[in-house]
C-alpha cells in the first residue's frame, strides 16, 4: 500500500501592549501614595497547515517531498485569533508603612466570550497591618522580628475558552454524489451570545510571623473562594443533535488554609540545618449547577463516566456501585438483588443494592470518594556539615481517591488484547474460589468500588548528598569550587495505590475528571552522580 507522509507548520503571533501611568508621592515621610492607571491590549493569532500524502514507493524522501507519493490526502489548515483588552486602576496608600491599603479595579474584555458579555469587572481591596512597626511592640522585638496581618477580598475572572466558542459555528462534512466528493456544511455548535466571564470571589486572611531574628518564619493563610458562572461543557440530551454546549453554569466553592513553617534549626560554624514545612488543606464543593443538580462529564467511547458533577459534592466525585465479592449459588437461590436487564449468574459481581428496592439499577450508584485530598504536605531540608551538604524533599497527599481505569480496562476479558494477570484468578467452575468475576462474552465495564483506590502517598522526590572539596584541593585544579554529588529522584514512594504512580491525572486538562488513571508513563526513578567545577 506504501507509506504515509505528512508535514505541518504552525505560525503563532502574539503581541501585548501595556500602558500604565504611575504617580508616586510621599508627604512628610508619613503618607505614602502610589496611584496607577492604565490599559493593556493583547492580540494572539495562530495559523496551522498540514499536508499529507500516501502510497509512497519507498521512504527515502520521508515527509520532505510529498510529491513522491501516489495520492494526496485532503490538506488541512486552521486559524484562530483572540483579543484581550483591559483597563486597570490601582491605589496603594500606606501610613508610616504600618497601615497599608490597596484598592484596585480592572475591566477585562475578551473576544472569546459572547457578544452580549465581552466585558467583566473585577475589583479588589487589600489591607495589611505591620504590627511589629508599632511603638508599643518594640519591647517584643527580641522575640518577634516580623508580624503582619493581611486581609484581602477581590474578584478575578477567567475567559480561557477556545476562540469562537459562543458562535453558531458550522463545520464541513463530506458525502458523494456520482462518485464525486461534495462538501456538506452543518452546524456543530449553538450560538451562546450570553457566554460570560467565569468569576471567582476570593477572601483571604493571613499572618506572617518571624521569630528570633527571622530564624523561624510562619506564614498562615485562610481563604474562601467562590467561583460563579463556571465555563462548563454542559452535556445535552443527544436528541437535540448536539452533545454538549459551553455555558456559564453554577458555582463552586473552595475553602481552606495553608501553613508554612520555615526554620533555621541549627546554625553554627560547621553545621547548619534549614527546613521548610508546608501543609495545605482545601475543601471543594459544587454549590449550584443551574437547573440540574448533577451531570456526568462525557466519557470516552466505550466507557461509563466514572465521575459525577453534583451539587454538594466535590467536583469530579467518583460515582459507581459498591460491590461485595461475587454471586454464589446460595445468593441466587436466596434471591439477592442482581443487575436489572442482565441475567446475572454465579461468579458475576455482586453489587450492593443501596436503594433497597430489590434490584441493582443505576440508582444504586453512589459517592465512592473523590480525587480531592484531605490535605497535602511537603517537607524540604538542607543540612550542611563541614564540607558535606545533604538536601531532601518529601511530598505527600493524603485522603484522595484514584480511579484505576487502566486496571478496569485490563480486567475486561478479551481474546485479542492484552489483559491483566489478575484475570487468572477469575471465577470459573474449575476455580470456584476465584475473586474476579467470571469471563463472559459481554462484560460491561461498570464503575465499582473495586477500582477506586486510596491515592494517598508520601514520596521522597529528591535527595542529594554533596561534598565540597576544601580550597586547598580545588585550587590544585585551579577551580574556585569543586563539588561532587549524588542524587536520586523519586527514590521512595509510600502508597497503597496499585497503579504505577499515585500522582497520576490522565485528563489533566479537564477539572471534572481528576484522579483517573488510564495509563500514563510512570514516574522514573533517576540516579545522578556529578561533579560541579567552577573556575
Amino acid at each position: 500500500m506504501g507509506g504515509y507522509g505528512s508535514v505541518g507548520t504552525v505560525a503563532a503571533v502574539s503581541w501585548l501592549n501595556e500602558n500604565t501611568l504611575t504617580w508616586d508621592h510621599t508627604w512628610q515621610n508619613t503618607h505614602f501614595l502610589n496611584v496607577l492607571a492604565g490599559y493593556t491590549t493583547q492580540f494572539s493569532k495562530d495559523e496551522s497547515a498540514v499536508a499529507s500524502s500516501q502510497k509512497f514507493p519507498n521512504d527515502l524522501t520521508t515527509y520532505n517531498n510529498l510529491s513522491y507519493a501516489g495520492s494526496a490526502v485532503l490538506s488541512l489548515s486552521d486559524a484562530h485569533q483572540s483579543t484581550l483588552n483591559s483597563f486597570l486602576a490601582r491605589v496603594n496608600y500606606s501610613y508610616l508603612h504600618k497601615y497599608n491599603i490597596t484598592l484596585s479595579e480592572r475591566a477585562d474584555g475578551s473576544s472569546r466570550l459572547g457578544a452580549n458579555n465581552k466585558w467583566g469587572y473585577f475589583p479588589s481591596i487589600g489591607i495589611s497591618w505591620n504590627i511589629n512597626k508599632e511603638d508599643f511592640f518594640q519591647r517584643f522585638d527580641r522575640y518577634i522580628s516580623n508580624l503582619k496581618l493581611r486581609v484581602t477580598a477581590g474578584k478575578t475572572g477567567n475567559s480561557e475558552v477556545p476562540p469562537y466558542s459562543s458562535l453558531a459555528a458550522l463545520a464541513p462534512t463530506n458525502y458523494y454524489f456520482n462518485n464525486t466528493l461534495v462538501t456538506g456544511i452543518a452546524p456543530v455548535q449553538l450560538a451562546n451570545p450570553d457566554l460570560k466571564w467565569e468569576t471567582t470571589s476570593q477572601y483571604n486572611a493571613g499572618v506572617d510571623l518571624g521569630l528570633f531574628n527571622n530564624r523561624i518564619n510562619v506564614t498562615f493563610d485562610a481563604y474562601y473562594k467562590k467561583t460563579t458562572d463556571l465555563l462548563l461543557y454542559v452535556p445535552f440530551p443527544l436528541y437535540t443533535g448536539y452533545a454538549s454546549q459551553l455555558e456559564n453554569v453554577g458555582s463552586v466553592e473552595n475553602k481552606g488554609f495553608e501553613l508554612g513553617l520555615s526554620t533555621e534549626n541549627i546554625k553554627s560554624q560547621d553545621f547548619t540545618w534549614r527546613s521548610t514545612f508546608l501543609i495545605a488543606a482545601n475543601r471543594n464543593k459544587v454549590l449550584n449547577l443551574g437547573e440540574s443538580s448533577s451531570f456526568f462529564p462525557i466519557a470516552p467511547t466505550g466507557q461509563v463516566s466514572p465521575v459525577i458533577v453534583q451539587v454538594g459534592l466535590p467536583v469530579g466525585t467518583f460515582w459507581g456501585y459498591s460491590t461485595n465479592g461475587l454471586l454464589t449459588a446460595e445468593d441466587l437461590t436466596k434471591g439477592v438483588p442482581v443487575l436489572a436487564g442482565v441475567s446475572q449468574q454465579v461468579g458475576d459481581t455482586k453489587y450492593i443494592d443501596n436503594t433497597g428496592d430489590g434490584f441493582i439499577t443505576t440508582a444504586d450508584k453512589h459517592n465512592l470518594g473523590s480525587a480531592q485530598p484531605t490535605f497535602t504536605a511537603s517537607f524540604s531540608n538542607n543540612v550542611s556539615w563541614k564540607h558535606f551538604d545533604l538536601s531532601f524533599f518529601i511530598q505527600g497527599s493524603f485522603g484522595n481517591k484514584l480511579f484505576n481505569l487502566l486496571q478496569q480496562k485490563l480486567e475486561i476479558p478479551t481474546i485479542s488484547l492484552n489483559a491483566s494477570a489478575a484475570l487468572l484468578n477469575r471465577y470459573s467452575t474449575t476455580n470456584p474460589n476465584g475473586t474476579i468475576a467470571r469471563a463472559t462474552n459481554s462484560p460491561v465495564p461498570q464503575v465499582t468500588d473495586r477500582y477506586i483506590e486510596d491515592g494517598s502517598y508520601a514520596k521522597l522526590k529528591n535527595i542529594t548528598l554533596g561534598y565540597n572539596f576544601p580550597a586547598t584541593i580545588s585550587s590544585k585544579v585551579r577551580a574556585k569550587q569543586l563539588r561532587v554529588y549524588v542524587s536520586a529522584q523519586n527514590l521512595i514512594t509510600l502508597t497503597h495505590y496499585t497503579g504505577y504512580n499515585p500522582e497520576v491525572n490522565f485528563y489533566d486538562n479537564d477539572n471534572t475528571k481528576q484522579g483517573i488513571d488510564y495509563g500514563i508513563y510512570p514516574a522514573t526513578r533517576t540516579f545522578l552522580a556529578g561533579v560541579n567545577i567552577t573556575f
Partner: protein, 492 residues
C-alpha cells in the same frame, strides 16, 4: 506632558484597532451561510453525510453501526473473536444493557442526521434561490429525516419527535418527552409524501440523491411495517415497473440485476435495482468509505485472523441451497490470493457480500468504494408479495410472481404453489432473510412480526439464550434517561 499625550494617543489607537468582535477566518458561522444556491446544496449534502460518516470518526450508520444492532442483534451474527468492544459482543449475545455504547451511538447518529435535516429544511425553505432547486433540496432533507425517524421508531418505539433546531441553550428548555409512535409515523408519512414531488431520476453530478421512487418505496415499507396493507399496495404499485404486474404503474424502470453480485459492486453502483443507496467511494484515509463494513467482512488472507464480522454459526450458511447463487455472493469459504496465486481455504464460511473486489490488493478493504443499499428493487418485490398475501387472505398469482422473480434471479426453483397464507408469509420472510442478509434488515423483519417471533429466532443460538420479549425494542440509551428523564422501554 506633551509626550505623555502622544503616548496615550498612540496606545489608544492600538486599543481601538484591537476589536473584541470575533470574525473567524477558519469557521463559517450561521449568519454568513444559507444565502446562495451552493450554500443550500451544502446544507443538504451535510444531511446525507450523516448516513455515511460519523463526526467522531466512528462507524457510520450505514457503514456497520446500524448492522451491529440489526444483524448482530438479530440472527445473522453473534460476534467475532476479533470484537474487542464488549458492547459489540453484548449486542451479538443479547446481553446488552441501556448503557450500551453502540445503542447510544446509533441513537446519537440518527439524531445528528435529523438535526441537520431540520436545520436544512428550516433554513433552505426561506432562501431566495431558484424555486425548483429549493423545493427539491427541502424534499431531499425531509426524505432523509423520514428514513432516520423510521429507523428510530422501529428500534426504540416512542422517541422524541424533534423537528427544529434548538432556539435555546438552556438544557431545561430542551427537555421533551417521548412522542407516541403513531405521531412519529404521521411525520414520517408526511415527509415521504412530500418526497413524491422529487425528481424521478438524476443525471451526472446528482446521481445518488433521493428520488420520488425512493419516497414511494420507503413509504410502502413504512405501511407494511404498520400493517396498513391497502396503502402499502398503493405505494408499491407506483414503484413496480409498469407492465410487469397488473396495476403496476411505476415509471422508474426498476428491475433486478441479472446477477445478484451486481447489487454489491462498485462498477454497478446506482444501477437498475438500487432504489436508494448510501453513497460511498474509495477515499484514501478520509474515513468515510465503506471500510468498516467491508473490512469487517474481510481483512486478511490468514484464516487465523478473524474479520470484524463473521456469520453467527453454520446454520446461517445452510439457509442456502447449493444452487442458490446468493450463497457464493454472501459467503466465501475459499479465496484466491492473486499476489501469491494460492487459494486459501478458510474452513468456516465468512462474509463476502461487502468485499470490494475492485480494490487491490484485496486486503485493502479500508479503501472500499461500495455503496450500502437501503432499498433494493428485490425488497419492493418481496414487500409486494407479502402485501398481496395479507390483503387477499392468501397468496395471489402476482404474489407468487413477485417472490419467484427474486428466486429465479438467485437461480433457485419457484416457490411451491398452493401455500396457505401462513406458509406463504413464512416463505416471504425466509426469502427476505436470505436476500438481505448483512444489509441491516433482519432485526426489523423479526421485530415487526411481533409477539415472540424475534425472541424465538434468537433463542435458537446458544449464545443468545438470554433473549427475552423485551428485546423486541432496544432500550432508550441510559444517558437520555439521566439527562432528559426519558422513560425506559418495558422490561428494561
Amino acid at each position: 506632558m506633551k509626550r505623555i499625550i502622544y503616548g496615550v494617543v498612540a496606545a489608544g489607537l492600538l486599543l481601538s484597532c484591537n476589536k473584541l468582535t470575533e470574525d473567524p477566518a477558519s469557521v463559517t458561522v450561521a449568519g454568513q451561510f444559507y444565502k446562495t444556491p451552493a450554500d443550500a446544496l451544502a446544507a443538504v449534502s451535510a444531511v446525507y453525510s450523516t448516513l455515511n460518516s460519523d463526526p467522531a470518526g466512528d462507524f457510520p450508520i450505514y457503514g456497520r453501526n446500524l448492522n451491529l444492532l440489526t444483524c448482530n442483534g438479530g440472527d445473522e451474527l453473534v460476534f467475532s473473536p476479533s470484537n474487542t468492544n464488549p458492547d459489540v459482543r453484548a449486542l451479538g449475545t443479547t446481553t446488552y444493557v441501556p448503557a450500551n455504547d453502540r445503542v447510544r451511538k446509533i441513537w446519537q447518529q440518527h439524531y445528528y442526521g435529523i438535526s441537520r435535516a431540520n436545520v436544512a429544511v428550516d433554513n433552505v425553505a426561506g432562501m431566495s434561490i431558484d424555486t425548483t432547486l429549493r423545493e427539491r433540496l427541502v424534499r431531499e432533507a425531509r426524505f432523509v429525516r423520514a428514513l432516520l425517524y423510521f429507523n428510530l421508531v422501529r428500534l426504540f418505539g416512542d422517541v422524541p419527535l424533534v423537528l427544529h433546531d434548538p432556539t435555546t441553550v438552556d438544557v431545561n428548555n430542551l427537555k421533551t418527552g417521548r412522542t407516541s409512535k403513531d405521531s412519529v409515523y404521521q411525520q414520517i408519512v408526511a415527509d415521504l409524501k412530500e418526497g413524491f414531488n422529487l425528481p424521478k431520476s438524476y443525471s451526472g453530478a446528482d446521481i445518488g440523491r433521493a428520488t420520488s421512487g425512493a419516497a414511494h418505496a420507503l413509504l410502502a415499507k413504512v405501511y407494511v411495517t404498520r400493517r396498513d396493507w391497502p396503502n402499502a399496495l398503493a405505494e408499491l404499485q407506483k414503484v413496480i415497473t409498469a407492465g410487469t404486474f397488473t396495476n403496476a404503474t411505476g415509471g422508474y424502470g426498476y428491475n433486478l440485476f441479472a446477477n445478484f453480485k451486481d447489487a454489491f459492486q462498485k462498477a454497478t453502483k446506482n444501477g437498475v435495482e438500487h432504489v436508494f443507496s448510501v453513497q460511498f467511494e474509495t477515499n484514501l484515509g478520509a474515513k468515510n468509505s465503506t471500510q468498516f463494513i467491508s473490512s469487517g467482512s474481510f481483512s486478511s488472507f490468514n484464516p487465523a485472523v478473524y474479520p470484524g464480522d463473521i456469520p453467527a454459526d453454520s446454520t446461517v450458511y445452510q439457509l442456502f441451497d447449493a444452487s442458490d447463487t446468493r450463497r457464493g455472493v454472501t459467503f466465501f469459504t475459499t479465496l484466491l490470493n492473486t499476489s501469491t496465486g494460492q487459494t486459501i481455504n478458510f474452513g468456516a464460511p465468512r462474509w463476502n457480500k461487502f468485499i470490494d473486489y475492485s480494490v487491490s490488493p484485496l486486503t485493502s478493504q479500508a479503501q472500499s468504494g461500495l455503496n450500502t443499499p437501503v432499498i433494493r428493487y428485490a425488497d419492493v418485490l418481496l414487500l409486494y408479495a407479502e402485501t398481496l398475501n395479507e390483503l387477499n387472505g392468501g397468496p395471489t398469482t402476482d404474489a407468487y410472481t413477485a417472490i419467484n422473480k427474486v428466486r429465479t434471479r438467485a437461480g433457485i426453483a419457484n416457490l411451491t404453489t398452493g401455500l396457505s397464507q401462513t406458509a406463504f408469509r413464512d416463505s416471504v420472510f425466509h426469502e427476505r432473510r436470505k436476500e438481505f442478509i448483512l444489509e441491516g434488515n433482519r432485526w426489523f423483519d423479526l421485530s415487526r412480526r411481533g409477539g415472540s417471533y424475534l425472541f424465538d429466532a434468537l433463542k435458537k443460538f446458544p449464545a443468545k439464550t438470554g433473549a427475552a420479549l423485551k428485546d423486541t425494542l432496544y432500550p432508550i440509551p441510559q444517558v437520555e434517561i439521566d439527562l432528559a428523564g426519558l422513560t425506559q422501554n418495558p422490561g428494561w
